[in-house]
Amino acid sequence: MSSLLITNGRVIDPSQDMDRVTNLLIEEERIAAFDVEPDKGSTNGSVATIDAAGKLVAPGLIDMHAYLGEPGGEDDETIRTGTQAALSGGFTSIACAPNTNPPIDTQGTVQFVKQQAADANNCHVYPIACVSKNRIGEELAEMGTLVGAGAVAFSDACSPISNPELMRRALEYLLMFDKPLLSHPEVQELSGDGVMHEGIVSTVLALPGIPAEAEAVMTGRDISLAESTGGRIHMMHISTVGSIDLIRRAKARGVRITAEVSPQHFSLTDEALRSFDSNKKINPPLRGQLHVDACIAGLKDGTLDVIASDHQPQAVEKKMQELDRAPFGVIALETALSVVVTKLIRPGHLDWMTALEKMTIRPARVLGIPKGTLQIGADADVTIIDPDATWTVDLDAFFSKSSNSPYQGETLYGRASTVIVSGCVKFERNC
């Protein structure tokens, strides 16, 4: 059995509060030891060595919010291309969203996703299944069966569960399985046909706006329902002052709530829409500076537990339409880590330990998967990061099938250089 020794890297593992320069030994697909001398190593076989001098060695990054296209959206992405993009972004595990066609609401589709992921043999893929049958928000899906098939969490993806009674019932039902309900908080009567954040920019551009309260009102609703049922709720892609304030207070009261933010929502504002570029059109929309500041504050004080990419590929021809016809969404797997470095770590908002925590152990705990840690005996999923890498976003070089990134042409810092999944090097950056 071959082993892998990672030397001279700065090992940062938030799950153990570890941050020191040391060597890390991987044996038989597990984390075997720290502080190992290079010449000792394993006697059972070859010891491959990776010199990580000047680099960070972190638990394999986890993204709990990525749409991978299959089944039904193969024009946008496939599980193969999506997991390749994930590896390039430094992720060893991703949870894939069920807004597929057909949606992931049966054993068959869960198993299909798992099979495709196994065939692609890139990173781990954990299926998220629908809360409601067919994702139409009327009847509960067979969540027990789906848990048995391998679903780790439940969500109607980019559709809100508009019926509060159904949401309440779903939260109660999931208590049996101790799985989280991932909520997309949006009151559609308020978001209407909006294409961007409602504010001074939308007034000037005369584009219909999505007001902040479209999110905050449903966040408040979900908190009440989680509180009264005792259910476990996770708020996806939070973007507003109002929502963050409500979540902060709910946590203080002991509500079992966690929340995520996407890199897009703490790094870009609604000013980006002045170009009318549909690659800046997402839901929830890019908001005003006050909301961006609140997201950063929420990350700092722990109100926002997780950074999740919200990767939503859309084929080029779909985005190359009039702004109101272009679908929402941007790709994000290949830029997420670098945006975290460029917009949070380098400006001093978060240190590496805190930032990595939100991309490793925290999402692992929400999903209930045994990942996101470098404790001895843990699965050998490791991401080696070059914190000083400087690169320019060139969509032609991306692995994702789609090109709808809001960062085209931007210079970003920090990038995964080597990604190890189950003890095997699955990705190495050449340039």
Partner: protein, 314 residues
């Protein structure tokens, strides 16, 4: 034929809006329009400045007067004009609008005049085709030639824009005419007031130095110019005010209201006007109304814009 028209200050192959134009650029268009108006004997005579060129009207929204105005302007300058409207076209066969535009470009069209219900569509076109793109209205975002002809009309009657108080009355939120006027007038130093129902006039405009008012009667005595926007029933989805009658009660420019207006106030409207809703016949046809001058100036402005953009593009 004196063809010397100063175009040094104009460097753009497209006209997408007034928001990002400088005062000098706006003035250049106005001066060129004035000159062309003179050369064509008040827009009546043909001259050959755009001989041999082709202008395509690409109208995804219904329009008779703007399209006719652009067509006439192009023909007055000697250009060939082709008309393309979305009804009954390849768009209904599933062609995207970008592909439609590229097909038109492939016919070696020089200039595309585009109107579309979605803001930013002319910008998207300009990025994807080599032709000059003139925005004839993109949703409620901008209608630059309308803003320019309104300003030209004011300038003709008042000799200046700076220091004037110009009020835009009506459904500001859905009005591209209002937005283009706001940008152009502010660049040239006017004080701009937007006035209408609180459901249709956002306080956010104050952040940009525009005065927001809900009562026409309260602001009327201060106004040098009133621009009466048409209530756009076809663009509204939810009812922001209870009835046409109520709107007229609060905002229609009537003979009675005229008594409280300045002696030299100018009454303007982008048209078509709803007689009795925004303005009564006695005011629309009265001595203060310059509505028909706007139409003539529209022709001059469009000639100027077609000419100036083509000069840069070629």
């Amino acid at each position: 034929m004196d063809k010397t028209i100063a175009t040094d200050n104009w460097t753009q192959a497209d006209l997408l809006g007034l928001e990002h134009l400088s005062a000098e650029e706006i003035t250049t268009i106005l001066d060129t329009a004035q000159q062309l108006k003179g050369m064509t004997n008040g827009c009546a005579k043909k001259i050959d400045l755009l001989q041999g060129t082709t202008v395509a009207n690409l109208f995804f929204e219904n329009s008779t007067r703007t399209r006719t105005s652009f067509s006439l302007a192009a023909r007055r300058l000697g250009a060939d004009v082709i008309d393309f409207s979305s009804a009954g076209s390849s768009l209904s066969k599933g062609e995207t609008f970008i592909d439609t535009a590229k097909n038109i470009e492939a016919m070696n069209v020089d200039t595309v005049v585009v109107r579309h219900r979605t803001p930013g569509t002319p910008h998207l076109l300009a990025k994807n085709i080599r032709c000059s793109v003139i925005n004839a209205g993109d949703g409620a975002h901008e209608h630059p030639t309308q803003g320019l002809l309104d300003i030209m009309t004011i300038r003709e009657h008042r000799k200046k824009i700076k220091g004037l108080t110009v009020a835009l009355i009506g459904d500001i939120s859905h009005s591209r005419t209002a937005r283009s006027n706001i940008w152009g007038l502010k660049k040239l130093g006017a004080h701009v007031i937007v006035c209408g129902p609180s459901t249709l006039v956002s306080r956010r405009w104050e952040e940009l130095g525009v005065e927001v008012a809900y009562s026409l009667d309260a602001i009327l005595p201060r106004c040098d110019v009133l621009n009466l926007l048409r209530i756009q029933f076809e663009r509204q989805i939810t009812r922001p005010f209870p009835s046409v009658r109520e709107y007229a009660l609060l905002y229609a420019m009537t003979g009675e209201r005229m008594a409280n207006a300045k002696d030299d106030i100018l009454i303007m409207a982008p048209g078509p006007i709803n007689r009795g809703t925004e303005v009564t016949p006695e005011v629309a046809d009265g001595p203060h109304s310059v509505i028909l001058h706007q139409v003539t100036n529209g022709l001059a402005i469009r000639m100027a814009v077609l000419y100036l953009t083509h000069e840069v593009a070629r």
